[in-house]
Symmetry: C2
Subunit: 409 residues, 2 copies
């Protein structure tokens, strides 16, 4: 299916679940994704969780004819996992790392190692300039007791800030990715209200895909029921968002998602469903200069976000205090041990009552405690600074909003 309308832009987004040796059928799925993209030829392809550069290079080679312009965003230990493929020339790229992204010691969740970020590419769509963003926010592992909520809210805050500040020169803004947030979640509301981005699924004229636009579905064999419980119909956490400017109108003509199973294949493309949105551009002079109107509820949303950040801050401060206290106890234990060992040494002639093995094991334990608590202390300090920074900016936003209201009356 080739795109013949010069004013239409087809955008594709997929979380590829590309953890080599851990994700099931990884290379086979990349083959399938490559085939799909070669066939469908969307204008812009936004991929997440392309953790291995080798897989990116495989796709780059596979799509070299259909999508000659491409960029892989590098960040963190493993990478950001973000990649963009385009039919249209990429003029510039920029990566903005989120200040918070989970905890390194939660290795089984692994988010911290991914260096989560938002990648931006500046594209030419005919005579228009499009800023295209791709991102992947921290996963939600437990909706009832979400210990990463503050981190995800700060990421959503930093995402909206980055988009707002970098898109002033763009005619069109497109964001695709795995936001790991339900449509009405706080971070999502924060993002949409501040940037004025519109949800392709909510705005599309035609839709073909999973009911409710869900992108994590129970039918997917790579997903355990636990992950989406209690939303047995699935959840919508992947999005394509867009907005125009005073120089160009944009709307969503049609949208589709994959539906779990793939013809001629025993498994789907990924554990997420892929999204495709056909956006219609209009660069007429009568462009919809809808100024990014900040709704009246903006103060409420930011206040809600501040509350979450404050809860996270309180938690981080408590954790840092615990780390410091444990460190002090480790130090005290070490001194105690040295004192016990030193007593017979001072009382010349007395025999050493401390068994050597225990002495060394205890000393090693003390050093391990000291090192671990020191590293944790540093880590929590960075977390606290980042949370405080976000909270400062939110406070500024609320204060400005209040002062604007005062001026209006």
């Amino acid at each position: 299916m080739d795109n013949t309308d010069p004013d239409a832009v087809r955008v594709f987004s997929l979380n590829c679940w590309g953890i080599r040796y851990l994700s099931k059928y990884c290379s086979q799925r990349y083959h399938m994704i490559g085939e799909l993209l070669c066939k469908e030829k969307p204008d812009i392809v936004l991929l997440q969780e392309v953790w291995s550069e080798k897989d990116y290079l495989f796709l780059k080679k596979k799509l070299s004819c259909t999508h000659p312009y491409t960029h892989y965003f590098k960040s963190g230990v493993i990478g950001s996992g973000l990649a963009i493929f385009s039919k249209h020339r990429i003029h510039d790229t920029l990566l903005h790392r989120y200040s918070l992204n989970g905890y390194p010691y939660m290795a089984h969740h692994g988010d911290w190692f991914g260096g989560k970020a938002v990648g931006m590419a500046v594209l030419s769509l005919g005579s228009l300039t499009a800023n295209v963003y791709v991102t992947h926010l921290h996963a939600e592992y437990n909706r009832e007791k979400d210990s990463y909520l503050a981190h995800r809210v700060v990421q959503a805050w930093e995402l909206q800030q980055f988009i707002r500040h970098t898109s002033a020169g763009a005619d069109v803004v497109i964001l695709g990715g795995d936001l790991n947030m339900h449509p009405q979640d706080l971070g999502n509301r924060l993002l949409r209200s501040y940037t004025g981005l519109r949800d392709a699924y909510a705005e599309t004229a035609k839709f073909d895909g999973c009911e409710g636009g869900v992108t994590l579905i129970a039918d997917n064999p790579f997903i355990s029921q636990k992950e989406i419980f209690p939303f047995e119909k699935g959840i919508r956490i992947d999005y394509i968002l867009f907005k125009g400017s005073s120089r160009a109108e944009i709307g969503c003509d049609s949208m589709s998602t994959t539906k779990g199973s793939v013809a001629d294949s025993p498994f789907p493309f990924s554990d997420h469903e892929a999204l495709t949105a056909e956006l219609k551009l209009n660069s007429a002079q009568t462009g919809n200069d809808k100024p990014c109107k900040t709704p009246d509820s903006l103060v409420d949303i930011v206040t809600e976000a501040r509350t979450e950040v404050k809860v996270g801050l309180h938690c981080a401060e408590r954790m840092r205090y615990t780390a410091a206290r444990t460190g002090v106890m480790g130090l005290a234990l070490l001194f105690l041990e040295l004192a016990i060992a030193a007593v017979p040494w001072f009382a010349l002639g007395a025999e050493q009552p401390f068994p050597q093995t225990s002495f060394y094991l205890l000393a090693a334990l003390c050093f391990a405690i000291l090192l671990t608590t020191f590293l944790l202390y540093i880590f929590y300090t960075i977390e606290i600074k980042s949370l405080q920074g976000a909270e400062d900016q939110m406070r500024l936003a609320v204060a400005l909003r209040h002062s604007c209201e005062c001026l209006c009356f």
Copy 2:
């Protein structure tokens, strides 16, 4: 001295050298800086190395009447050290962390712990919108054998990217800070050529200050001669840069620096000299729409930068290899030790020949080697990813430039 011309903006920049308990006369100097700012009342104050939040709060209180709008940028373990005070309302702020910033184990240089970044504030100057940036790049400790050159070049690259992408909506752009680069250093050329920013010192009509505009001078009692050798007249590493837009013209009417000694005080404000630039704005319709013309030498500059980044990359790869090799040796040593200890255990009846003390000490050494090399391996991997990311973007920039030239001919 109050600013009466509504179209004039006085910008002040100073690296405060505010390391509590380490910097000499820290609190006295903050008192002096506060007094100076209260007296001079510059419109915008850009401070670096305000490491302690207490010192920031002291200044905030002191300047509450003259500079009601202020922001302290939080980042890293200690903070970013960046602060901005303004007479004009701050509408929004954004912090962008550099991906590279030295090495944590070079604790005596300390840069890594500072979380170096660029801070942005959006200000209203009358009817104009100004994007004001404040930054502090990695220090240069040895000009002849600068092991941080690649890091500083990447920081300059990321700085120009951030300014370009965030300033499209601004009428006026102002950057102040300690760039830790001489005027013709690679990073400085990269920054100026890409952004079109103009150097206040080079453009000013009137100048009053140290000869050559130097900001690190031999007369300063806090500086050792070694730091500025062989530039006995001093070096210029602090800057105020600016540019206008199609909507506003900007020029520099006058500029001044402090000259080391301060009247009625036995010591100067800091180890750096303070800069003040009086900028003249003109929001006439005939604004100098000098498009940020990229000079012909841009490709050369980026190519030079790519070379430096590649050298850095090569060095980081070598270091990572060394870390990996040392780790493998540590592991081999551990296995060897366990094997030696296990032999008599298997040969029942034989006596353990391995002295217990040596056994535990050696095992502790092996674990320490393994842990250290593991952390170093992770760290160098992050460094490599960041350097590769910057190099990718530079390659894209050169390729684009070449393709533009092809189109022109």
